[in-house]
């Protein structure tokens, strides 16, 4: 009890310390200079309608590569962490309900398609590689939940994961070699603003990100689920 009171007190102090962040601070009235540049020149420079996407994929592309790497590390880490040292005997899994099974059978292709749609249209509409990847992964998770016998082919998973990641890096190198810098999307034609095949390499990058994120998330879930069995 004393400990809790003590923690309340220190958290109180902590809150007081952080208070100026809320109190002495007024939100932007104008865009910040950097953002202003992105909004003004972004569409022309990069050809992406979704400005968040142009920030994510190009202006701050290294962040995104890092982000992919983080996810990749997490997936590899979870896989590494939950590795089996010796094969234990598996307890059989309980099957799932009929509703879930039928629902999955119906929804799975739709979810997959939706995911693909999201990352392909990342430069035009809200969403992008990460969001699309997560949607794809959710479909796969649904599949895993619904069927006790469903198994993810890890080889395929790894293949997708590795190749999409490597392709992303390769595109980055192309930007460096063919255009002005690493991860520059402008080595491909910018195309007509607002169409699917525009914004240079952005859709391509987002596709690889989407595949990679999807594969990684599935991998994480798969590893955790495997471990529990």
């Amino acid at each position: 009890m004393v400990k809790k009171i003590f923690i309340v007190i220190i958290l109180g102090f902590f809150a007081v310390m952080l208070l100026p962040l809320a109190k002495d601070f007024t939100p932007f009235q104008e865009l910040s200079p950097v953002a202003e540049k992105y909004v003004e020149d972004g569409p022309e420079e990069l050809g992406s309608a979704n400005l968040v996407t142009s920030v994510i994929v190009t202006y701050r592309g290294l962040d995104t590569l890092g982000e992919v790497a983080v996810l990749f590390i997490a997936a590899a880490g979870v896989g590494f962490f939950l590795r089996k040292e010796e094969k234990g005997d598996k307890t059989p899994k309980r099957g799932s309900s009929q509703i879930l099974q039928s629902g999955t059978a119906f929804l799975f292709p739709l979810i997959l398609a939706f995911g693909v749609y999201i990352f392909l249209h990342g430069h035009l509409t809200p969403g992008g590689g990460f969001q699309g990847g997560v949607v794809i992964a959710s479909g796969m998770v649904l599949l895993l939940l619904s069927s006790a016998s469903a198994k993810i082919n890890e080889n395929v998973l790894h293949l997708v994961e590795s190749l999409s990641g490597a392709s992303y890096v390769a595109i980055g190198i192309l930007g460096l070699v063919l255009a002005t810098g690493f991860l520059d999307n402008r080595f491909l034609d910018l195309g007509e603003f607002g169409t699917l095949l525009s914004a240079g390499a952005i859709p391509l990058i987002y596709s690889f990100i989407g595949l990679k994120v999807g594969a990684e998330l599935v991998g994480i879930v798969n590893n955790m689920q495997k471990d529990q069995s």
Binding site: I10, F13, L18, K23, G66, E67, I73, V78, L183
Partner: protein
């Protein structure tokens, strides 16, 4: 030139694909893994070379936009150094882990690559948010790598690490987003320009929060319990990367955001860093677990680097200027290499307890490596931290930051305590098992050893005043050669060293003037003579000659030092060499430790003094200017004198000496006693001849010191009479004898200095003689307890004569040379009028008779023990130098004018008044006179006359057996019963009561106990509960906030 971005491209690409390659076989993936690591090393190495060659700093703009509109990376000199270090670390640690990589999933390699890449990113990126991303890459990869072993300890440590790091990243995010809000950009350099710190509390708070995030990752005290757990639990190969590499990245992050910090925050970081340094080294005192101990040391060192860096910036040194590079960079790289090496060694040995590391003794190369790392951490030459620390003290002293200097030196001393204790334990322990070191695990350690040595030598060439260090190059080369040639038999090495040292002496000595010549004779000629006993040793005597040469290098360096850097380097070399000589003794380990600690303590006092001198001397290192300073003379004087007094073993600072000299090997004892102690005197001569009669208020410091000298004579001699151990007796006697030396110097008159030098010369001669003679006896009878000997005059007559001459010279009985000192003492006392000290001093001198007699009686006279009936005379190599010293004493006794006159002649330069008036070998002062030769002749003639008379009246003398005495109406048959030796002066102890108690030892024991119990109390903070650690972090932030932001 390869674009540095390829470091990331390679790592990421390989990382992504490694799983696929692994399908083709582990060999393929391993090959690619190491190839990538090697390529990373190559890229940063290539940049370092180019940048050193004068290339421009490279800026890499991703996506082709200039900052602040895109993320940019930078490859400047600092980045090149750091990335090269980190990538080397990665390659070596990767090699080190090869066995584990082979045995486990390919993910381990991937994670390892990501970890190294993350650190590279931390170093190279110039974007605040990107910094966060790389921070997380590093952290998450580390979290996963920790799982390479999944025992409960590792797991719980890892989890604690994760939640602590989680808090840090949350804080970092908050700070970053607000800084973006206030500055409108994320590019760090532009941000610093755009931010108006004074604008609002919130801006400052945002910077503060960001700073706290980085600080927490740097493991500040006390918010660092999680880090200690990680260091203790995680696999050595991984933890080497965490301790050295991740810390490097975070330090670089701190370096990058420094432009955002105002003075208060800089001071805050300095305070946190230095507090952490002191506190964690304090707590390290109680630590027995090897890796956790290294953890404490790591945390401390990182705190030191951060604190010193912040302090330097606070003081206005340019953030990428030479001073910051030399000091903070030097300290950092030193810690980086040494700590990585030590963690690797910890893994190789795989022993949790520091006391079980003795197995290293079977592997001289790794033992050498261990020693090198330890010395590097403590900051001894020739390692980078030595020069960094030196320069740091100079700089801080220049800016009057003495409190900072004091704390840092205190922390260093604490660190030295446990590190040297550890080293001592290793050298002491009995080795039972052997360790096997694979090539992959051994190579990194060896590379680290070479690196730390190489970096040290490099530091020696860039430190201000480096040019003057060239005097050490040749000797150091010789030392290195001796390490390599250590497989040769002892007589070869002995001859080699004697020849080389003899040649060096031959070259050096004629060029020395005044007192330097005198000390040159003691240091070098004495040194050569005392190497002769080395022939008595069999086998290889591994590790003796390099350190002996190191000690003599230091001593010679003192003689020719012209600036303070040379002097201090020489001083530390001497200390280091002698430490390793002393520690060779079988039971010398604890004493060598206290020798080292006192020496370091003294050296730090001296260093502070030299720093102060540097600052008041217009930032000049020239030692000769010591006499022309006008400010702070008294403080400089006191600090320097304290430094020298520890070497001189004055009362209160003497407790290391009896054990260290008493337990050392046969020929080491005379070296450290007869020669090394004079180094302290040399220092005093240098200082006192420059700064005359400094005062505190209206008290003369020299007057106070004269009392110290007198009390030292009394105390040292008194303790000597109670010793049962012959060598300790001699050691305590040295304490007393050096008290005369101190006393004489403090008088600051011609006669006073002459007295002092006479005592010093005499002490050199008779103490070398006595230690050799007693050493020879101990060599044969295998015990040092005098009461176990007795009657050895019949077995070891030459040793007996040596001791006889030695004690007559020691006690100052005419006609031998010791009397010169006594006679001069009286003269100088009357001249100066300090008779009260004189009384204490002379009483102390009288007590010397007691132990002199005890020494010769208990060993050589009385009853010969049964087990010594077949003892042989000491080996010839030990006897030869004794004969030399005996002749020297006789010469000095007969012709004191030949020695003292030249001494007086150069003393006139300093003290023109009151010189001795010599008339054909008879010395006249204003008060009395002394004819050395005359006394010798008269005594000789009378002695011969009486002897003749006895021979004449004495007819048919027959020698009788040992037990031909009547005792209690019986003839005793057991020598032990009738040999009165044990506790010989019990009545004296009884009579003097309180005066005989070892107060100094009690004081230092108490102090040590205080430190240890404080350490034990503080470290209870680390309860092992991850939640408590979180509370620590929050409270830490609040407290720092209260300090830094004024509530």
């Amino acid at each position: 030139m390869v674009n540095p971005i390829y470091i990331f491209i390679l790592a990421l690409g390989a990382g992504f694909l490694l799983t696929l390659f692994d399908k083709a076989g582990r060999k393929v993936s391993l090959t690619i893994f190491y190839a990538v690591l090697a390529a990373m090393v190559a890229i940063s190495a290539q940049w370092l070379i180019a940048l050193l060659g004068g290339s421009e700093t490279a800026m890499i703009f991703t996506a082709g936009f200039k900052p602040p509109f895109s993320i940019n990376l930078q490859m400047g000199l600092e980045e090149a150094i750091f990335t090269l270090a980190v990538n080397m670390l990665g390659l070596l640690s990767g090699l080190y882990l090869i066995k584990k990589f082979n045995a486990t999933k390919v993910n381990a390699m991937v994670l390892f690559l990501m970890m190294i890449m993350g650190i590279n990113g931390l170093i190279m990126t110039r974007d605040m948010f990107n910094l966060f991303v790389f921070m997380e890459i590093t952290s998450i990869a580390t979290f996963a790598m920790i799982g390479i072993d999944r025992d409960i300890k590792t797991l719980s440590a890892g989890f604690k690490y994760m939640i602590a790091s989680g808090i840090a990243s949350v804080l970092f995010l908050i700070g970053t987003i607000y800084l973006y809000r206030f500055s409108g950009m994320l590019h760090i350099d532009s941000m610093a320009v755009a931010l108006d710190m004074a604008s609002s509390q919130a801006t400052l708070l945002a910077v503060f929060i960001l700073l706290m995030a980085i600080v927490i990752e740097l493991k500040p005290f006390p918010a660092n319990g999680w880090a200690l757990d990680v260091y203790e639990a995680v696999d050595s190969g991984v933890v080497a990367v965490i301790a050295a590499g991740s810390s490097a990245g975070m330090l670089f992050a701190l370096y990058k955001i420094t432009p955002l910090l105002n003075e208060t925050l800089l001071l805050t970081v300095a305070g946190i860093g230095i507090t952490t340094f002191v506190a964690s080294n304090l707590m390290g005192l109680m630590q027995k677990n090897a890796k956790r101990l290294l953890g404490y040391s790591s945390i401390g060192q990182i705190g030191l680097v951060a604190g010193v860096f912040a302090m330097l910036v606070y003081l206005g040194y340019p953030i990428n200027g030479k001073m910051v590079m030399l000091i903070a960079g030097g300290l950092f790289i030193n810690h980086f290499v040494a700590k990585a090496g030590l963690f690797w060694l910890a893994g190789i040995l795989n022993k949790e307890n520091t006391e079980d590391w003795g197995a290293l003794r079977k592997k001289p190369i790794y033992l050498f490596a261990f020693g090198a790392f330890i010395l590097a951490l403590v900051g001894l030459p020739p390692f980078p931290s030595f020069f960094a620390k030196w320069q740091m003290v100079m700089i801080f002293a220049k800016d009057n930051q003495f409190l900072v200097i004091a704390f840092i030196l205190l922390g260093t001393l604490l660190e030295a305590v446990y590190l040297f204790r550890w080293l001592g334990k290793i050298l002491e322990s009995e080795v039972k098992e052997k360790i096997k070191v694979s090539f992959a695990q051994g190579l990194p350690v060896i590379v680290a050893t070479l690196a730390v040595l190489g970096l040290g030598i490099y530091s020696a060439t860039i430190v201000p005043g480096a040019g003057s260090l060239n005097i050490f190059y040749l000797p150091l080369l010789l030392i290195a050669a001796l390490f390599v040639l250590d497989f040769l038999p002892v007589w070869v090495k002995n001859t080699l060293v004697i020849l080389l040292m003899g040649f060096y002496t031959w070259q050096l000595l004629p060029g020395l003037e005044g007192y330097r010549f005198l000390f040159g004779v003691i240091f070098l000629v004495g040194g050569v003579i005392l190497l002769i006993p080395g022939y008595a040793f069999k086998g290889k005597r591994v590790g003796f000659y390099p350190f002996a040469v190191m000690m003599y290098t230091g001593l010679a360096g003192l003689l020719i030092a012209e600036n303070t850097l040379q002097f201090f380097t020489a001083w530390e070399l001497m200390t280091l060499g002698s430490y390793f000589l002393i520690i060779r003794g079988k039971k010398a380990k604890p004493h060598a430790l206290s020798y080292m600690l006192f020496s370091l303590g003294g050296a730090y006092a001296m260093l502070s003094g030299l720093g102060l001198f540097f600052s008041v001397n217009g930032n000049n290192l020239d030692l000769a200017l010591l006499s022309s300073i006008t400010e702070s003379t008294s403080i400089i004087y006191i600090l320097l004198v304290i430094g020298f007094l520890t070497k001189l073993a004055s009362m209160g600072l003497h407790i290391w000496l009896p054990g260290a000299h008493g337990e050392a090997e046969t020929d080491v004892s005379p070296m450290v006693s007869a020669i090394l102690l004079k180094a302290g005197m040399f220092g005093l001569v240098v200082v006192m001849s420059a700064i005359q009669n400094p005062m505190i208020g209206n008290v003369s410091i020299n007057y106070v010191l004269s009392w110290l000298g007198a009390i030292t004579v009394f105390g040292g001699n008194l303790m000597a009479i109670y010793q049962e151990d012959a060598k300790r007796l001699l050691a305590y006697s040295s304490v007393g004898n050096l008290g005369y030396v101190l006393f004489g110097l403090t008088l600051m008159t011609h006669l006073g200095w002459l007295t002092s030098i006479t005592y010093a010369l005499n002490h050199f001669l008779f103490k070398a003689l006595l230690f050799l003679a007693i050493g020879g006896v101990v060599w044969r009878v295998k015990t040092k307890n005098m009461y176990e000997m007795g009657g050895l005059i019949k077995r070891m007559p030459i040793s007996f004569i040596s001791v006889l001459i030695g004690i007559i010279a020691l006690s100052g009985v005419p006609p031998l040379s010791g009397f010169a000192g006594k006679w001069l003492t009286y003269n100088v006392l009357i001249e100066k009028g300090w008779v009260l000290q004189g009384v204490v001093l002379i009483i102390g001198g009288l007590i010397a008779f007691l132990y002199c007699f005890r020494l010769i009686h208990t060993i050589f006279l009385g009853q010969l023990k049964d087990n010594h009936r077949k003892v042989k005379e000491a080996p010839l190599p030990i006897l030869i130098p004794q004969v030399i010293f005996m002749f020297a004493i006789m010469f000095f006794s007969a012709y004191p004018n030949m020695v003292l006159r030249p001494v007086g002649d150069f003393l006139i330069k300093y003290f023109p008044q009151g010189a001795i008036n010599w008339q054909n070998g008879v010395a006249f002062t204003a008060f009395g006179h002394w004819d050395g030769l005359g006394v010798l002749m008269i005594t000789g003639v009378v002695f011969m006359a009486v002897f003749g008379w006895l021979l004449l009246t004495n007819r048919k003398t027959q020698k009788v057996g040992q037990f031909n005495i009547v005792y209690a109406a019986e003839r005793p048959s057991r020598p032990e019963l009738t040999h009165v030796g044990y506790n010989f002066f019990a009545h004296y102890r009884k009579a003097l009561g309180v005066l005989s108690k070892p107060y100094a030892e009690k004081f230092w024991d108490g102090l040590s106990e205080l430190f240890h119990s404080t350490a034990d109390f503080i470290r209870k903070l680390y309860t092992g509960n991850g939640q408590t650690y979180l509370v620590h972090i929050i409270v830490f932030i609040l407290v720092v906030y209260a300090f830094a932001m004024g509530g």
